[in-house]
């Protein structure tokens, strides 16, 4: 095994990029949990929808990356609104078991629906950037990876600013912290919840769209991420968005390093082993729990 710095740096950057995209999914999951008190197990399929929209729209738009990514994010946000209006709005905040069954069921329907329409064969997604990349010294990263990481960072900036400084963001935190007080100040809870799901789904669409040219697009791509994202939300302290983001980036790094030095089976195994240890040692997560904290 050759431990040169180039390889290590590439692993680090790679891990950072994947972690940032996981974090988009996890942040959305934490957001939905905070506002609706529902763990949305169909969240990974929203990411899959983003990936497929990217894969289908790119050829139609002459491989141009940015418009396709925008379409993927918007289409997924719209799918989120449909998901909310048809299903999530019918679940009360204390109906935890029902919410698990409903969202897990939706996840399966979407997964097998995608397999039926698009087949399970993974698709390679080409963009205007092809395999060109950024080279600094010996270190090389494809543009799609650089952009994927950059998009995630920008999305977090936007999410943070929304939660922190807009009345809509405050309303989401308000509902997460105290429903009765939210009713007292006249926050329309259904409307805010619908917007929160749309926002979370949009983040998923962004992640799926950005991942499409980096990994292969396939119906099961959401399944691979959702349980990790769920674990991240728990480890981050349920409803704590910075906690989930921090945990996600750490996870991406760990995965990348383990995958870089050991057999690929250890990559997934190590991740879940670390999660089990973390949850056993710190039952409430590594960070302060709850209330959609932002800083």
């Amino acid at each position: 095994m050759n431990l040169d710095t180039t390889y290590l740096t590439e692993l680090l950057l790679n891990g950072l990029m994947v972690g940032l995209l996981y974090a988009l999914v996890a942040a959305g999951l934490a957001l939905v949990f905070g506002v609706l008190h529902i763990i949305n197990f169909a969240h990974g399929e929203l990411m899959m929808i983003g990936g497929f929209v990217m894969a289908l729209v790119l050829p139609a738009l002459g491989l141009s990356y940015w418009p396709s990514l925008a379409v993927a994010a918007l289409a997924t946000a719209l799918a989120g609104v449909v998901l909310y209006e048809l299903f999530l709005s019918r679940l009360g905040p204390r109906e935890f078991e029902r919410s698990i069954l409903v969202t897990l069921g939706i996840s399966m329907v979407l997964l097998y629906g995608a397999q039926y329409w698009f087949s399970a064969t993974p698709r390679i997604v080409d963009t205007q950037y092809g395999f060109e990349g950024l080279e600094i010294g010996d270190i090389r990263m494809t543009w799609t990876r650089v952009i994927g990481g950059g998009v995630a960072v920008l999305a977090f900036g936007g999410l943070y600013a929304t939660l922190r400084w807009t009345q809509f963001g405050r309303a989401m935190r308000a509902i997460a912290q105290n429903r009765e007080a939210a009713a007292m100040v006249g926050i329309p809870q259904h409307r805010v919840a619908r917007h929160a799901v749309a926002l979370a789904a949009g983040l998923c669409g962004l992640a799926g769209g950005a991942l499409a040219p980096i990994q292969l697009v396939q119906p099961a791509m959401g399944q691979a991420v959702i349980f990790k994202a769920f674990a991240l939300v728990v480890i981050g302290g349920l409803g704590n968005i910075p906690g989930a983001v921090f945990a996600a980036i750490a996870l991406g790094m760990i995965e990348s390093w383990v995958g870089g030095f050991f057999d690929i089976v250890w990559q997934e195994t190590s991740v879940f082993l670390i999660m089990i240890v973390a949850v056993i040692l710190r039952p409430d997560g590594l960070f302060q729990r709850g209330g959609l904290r932002v800083g």
Binding site: Q167, R173, Q177, M184, G186, G291
Partner: protein
């Protein structure tokens, strides 16, 4: 007297269970009315029914002549009805400033600063604790904050559920004084209080509830003098010194 709120044969409750049954009354504009009754008599349920956070089964609620019982709480708040629920009803992880900003949720943003300024003049302690998380304030300060959070909307009907619960006698007196001052500006107040004696002293009218129904209604002084009420809710022989 100008009727501000009229409740006609109201039945309301949770899920499939009515708690308040066949309840009628009317409140005069600018008056203070105290609801008295034991645990489970339906006092809090009645307040929630007027604000709209529980299920309405039958009857009518008229606010300034308009039927409101089918409206969502947000819509009632926009029409000037505000409700401060019992106990710690704020956003504990947010600062006092953010809590007040959320109080302004139903107002156009150009009004926010002026309205917050006005309640801070009423409760200066809030300005002193401006950046503190609401959860770190004392019980009394939290109660003031919650009242301030609805007062920014300048409501015309104030529904208060146990505003003095858990407060020191001195703070209780301050809360009662504040309620009186608010009513003096023409705001109609309907209050549920565990401190029945203190509440009756500032009230115009008292309504006694038992098992979800109205048992007695009359001028506060008269209800205070009623032997049955003194026995059941005022601990028999209350000294008339307060």
């Amino acid at each position: 007297m100008t009727v501000a709120l009229a409740i006609e044969a109201l039945t309301a409750g949770y899920g499939e269970t009515p708690i308040v049954r066949d309840f009628s009354t009317s409140l005069a504009r600018g008056s203070i009315t105290t609801l008295i009754g034991g645990n489970g008599a339906g006092k809090s349920t009645l307040l929630r029914a007027v604000y709209g956070t529980i299920r309405w089964f039958a009857g009518r609620i008229l606010w300034q002549g308009e039927e409101i019982h089918a409206l969502a709480p947000t819509e009632r708040l926009r029409r000037g009805i505000a409700f401060v629920p019992q106990g710690r009803c704020n956003f504990p992880a947010m600062s006092v400033a953010e809590n007040l900003k959320l109080g302004c949720y139903t107002l156009p943003s150009r009004l926010h600063a002026a309205r917050v300024e006005r309640v801070c003049a009423l409760f200066p302690v809030l300005r002193a604790k401006w950046t503190l998380a609401a959860g770190n304030l004392s019980g009394g300060e939290q109660q003031l904050l919650e009242t301030a959070m609805v007062l920014v909307t300048e409501p015309q009907l104030l529904l208060l559920d146990e505003p003095s619960l858990g407060l020191s006698p001195k703070t209780q007196a301050e809360v009662f004084a504040a309620v009186r001052a608010i009513a003096a500006t023409g705001v109609t107040v309907l209050v549920v209080e565990q401190n029945v004696h203190g509440a009756l002293l500032i009230s115009d009218t008292a309504i006694v509830m038992e098992l979800g129904r109205k048992f007695m209604e009359g001028p506060a002084a008269q209800v205070r003098g009623d032997a049955r009420i003194r026995e059941a809710y005022l601990g028999g022989n209350i000294k008339e010194t307060t």
